[in-house]
């Protein structure tokens, strides 16, 4: 369960929670973490999109400053730092793009991005609301991603999208993270009942499904 959202005063979270893959709750026990939150509807999506690149590069730069985690370890080579920055920037950008693309436009909840550095991994958790009719197709895609041969699925999706008019839901960004960047992905779906502060008395709105996408990138 997403603790940051649980701590939020204007939100109650109810079961059921559905987990896909090796997902766990991030606890703020590590020394270094970052949390970003934003509401896509607050500015036009074109402007928001421009921020993806800036945010992704910032997240990548921020993390690499703290490496290696153990000061006794040998400093990373310049090549390794460039490689890691490239990886983090690509993953952060794809996660932000997906969160904005699929965030339910009617949701009053923000998109929440968490980045945490552990002794041997960098972990991203990005939470957004999803439209109810997208939950089942997305979970089906996730099942495929977790069980397929990533190399085969990657080529299959490229071939498939080459004939499709729109590329919504191909999962290409997710499969590149797994196949090209060796990242480990997992997901958590949960229902939230946002309470609108503006209404008196405060009444729960319709439930919103939130999905948290977790990406673990090993540093070893």
């Amino acid at each position: 369960v997403n603790t940051a959202l649980l701590d939020s005063p204007n939100l109650t979270i109810d079961a059921p929670v559905r987990i896909f893959g090796d997902f766990w709750e991030l606890k703020p026990t590590s020394q270094e973490y970052l949390i970003l939150g934003f509401s896509p509807s607050s500015i036009p999506i074109q402007k928001r999109w421009r921020n993806n690149g800036l945010s992704a590069d910032f997240l990548a730069d921020y993390v690499t400053t703290f490496l290696p985690c153990n000061p006794e370890d040998e400093a990373l080579s310049t090549e390794k730092v460039i490689d890691l920055k490239g990886t983090l920037s690509y993953i952060a950008n794809e996660l932000l793009e997906n969160a904005i693309k699929y965030h339910s436009p009617t949701s009053p909840l923000p998109i929440d991005v968490k980045l945490q550095l552990t002794a041997d991994a960098v972990i991203f958790q990005v939470t957004n609301s999803v439209d109810v009719d997208r939950v089942v197709p997305f979970q089906a895609l996730i099942q495929t991603l977790l069980t397929c041969d990533p190399g085969e699925f990657y080529i299959q999706q490229l071939e498939r999208t080459s004939t499709d008019v729109n590329d919504l839901g191909s999962g290409l960004g997710l499969v590149t993270m797994i196949h090209d960047y060796n990242a480990k992905l997992s997901w958590c779906f949960q229902q939230a009942f946002p309470l609108l502060e503006m209404t008196m008395p405060i009444t729960p709105t319709v439930p919103t499904t939130m999905v948290t996408t977790m990406v673990q990138l090993s540093l070893i």
């Binding site: 693309k101 490229l158 999208t161 960047y181």
Partner: protein, 121 residues
């Protein structure tokens, strides 16, 4: 049939896409993070136009393309899938070893089109 295509340049805040008819080279540079295939359409069309001009050898120069999002990878893949239907056209992709995404993702293009030449320098 070979048709003459003039030099083309698409320039935006973060990237440049250009075509040089003298070298039959399409160059992409900067950072490409466009939102979906619709936004990639002008660049995609540029590459298809070059392919349709009947060039025998076509070079895609990515040596200064620092960033490409997955929609951009999709665009390149679509182009390669179109190009492999033209056995008379040879495709050469130039990349850089110092740009991490290229070493990780460009080799997938060869899986789509085994005759594609990939040079990472």
């Amino acid at each position: 049939m070979t048709t003459i295509l003039n030099a083309i340049e698409i320039k935006a805040e973060n990237y440049i896409a250009s075509y040089d008819p003298e070298t039959s080279k399409v160059s992409l540079s900067g950072a490409l993070r466009l939102a979906g295939m619709e936004e990639y359409a002008p660049i995609s069309q540029l590459m298809i136009d070059v392919l349709n001009s009947g060039a025998v050898q076509l070079t895609i120069d990515l040596q200064r393309l620092d960033f490409l999002n997955s929609s951009g990878i999709n665009m390149l893949s679509k182009f390669v899938i179109t190009a492999r239907q033209r056995p008379d056209t040879k495709v050469l992709v130039l990349g850089s070893v110092s740009i991490p995404w290229q070493g990780k993702s460009l080799k997938n293009l060869q899986r789509l089109m085994p005759t594609l030449q990939l040079q990472l320098a």
